[in-house]
């Protein structure tokens, strides 16, 4: 199949690829966003737990 012809979609290329392009873009962005948010929360929580553990440890010793 001719690639150019496929992309042209009988004159409807803009509408079709516009639709799928935006949908794909939004879904990829949302996916990345959500994964990043989880990882950020995970890191911050771990750091916080470590910090508090250290503070508590000092409190007991001192």
């Amino acid at each position: 199949m001719d690639i150019a012809e496929f992309l042209h979609m009988g004159g409807h290329g803009f509408y079709i690829w516009g639709s799928y392009g935006t949908a794909l873009f939004l879904m990829v962005i949302e996916g990345i966003w959500v994964f990043k948010r989880r990882n950020k929360a995970k890191k911050e929580l771990e750091r916080m737990e470590a910090d508090f553990a250290r503070v508590d440890g000092q409190g007991v010793n001192g």
Binding site: I16, S19, A23, G31, V34, R38, K40, K42, M48
Partner: protein
Amino acid sequence: MSMTRRIPWMKYASASNFYPLADRLVPIFMGLALVLAVIGLYLGFVVAPIDYQQGNSYRIMFIHVPAAWMSMFIYLLLAMYAIISLVWRVKMADIMAYSLAPTGAMFTFIALLTGALWGRPTWGTYWIWDARLTSELLLLFLYLGYMGLYSAIPDRQRASRAAAFLAIVGAVNVPIIYFSVIWWNTLHQGSSFSFSEGASMTDAMLYALLLMALACWAYTIAVVLRRAQALILERKKVALWASQISKK
């Protein structure tokens, strides 16, 4: 507890059991979404023949229809979780409801946008105030209202309960809105063009549509579980902070 053994899914109503389960499920559903979408798009773009009336533009259907379905399913699901969180005060239900909302709003937006892009070659205009597009637009406002109310209330307990209540009121209103818009449409004799889906659907089109819908489901499950995990951790952080402050 014997309760948990009899209803195993109740086990996952607690965040500590939910989290590791989500960790296992997210990659599976992400992969599933990818595979289903690739096969669905192959069927939809390569195998399915060109439509003699609409030309190739009908192929937008394979994203438009699943997105429109998802936008409605997700709102129903959100309302169900809202009922569970409001009546039985299950914290995970609130987290799930809140995690569903952005994805639902996104699918509503995709449905609107692809509907407009499909409308242009089919009707000659990007937007008509037809019953389906109009109620889809109102659904977007319902999602925005839910998220807006949730984030406007500083107290989390109140935010979750108020937003859940709003979601339920909205769900009761969805059919009323839908039928009133249809009625309005017939009154004003607007163009009541329907995408001629069922009429000339080949098997390939049907399977493509089905696979794309399943792909959207799998994507939704993966993303929503991930967001729920993020929320659990963020809330845990706040709780930890509060407990540390109170110790001093």
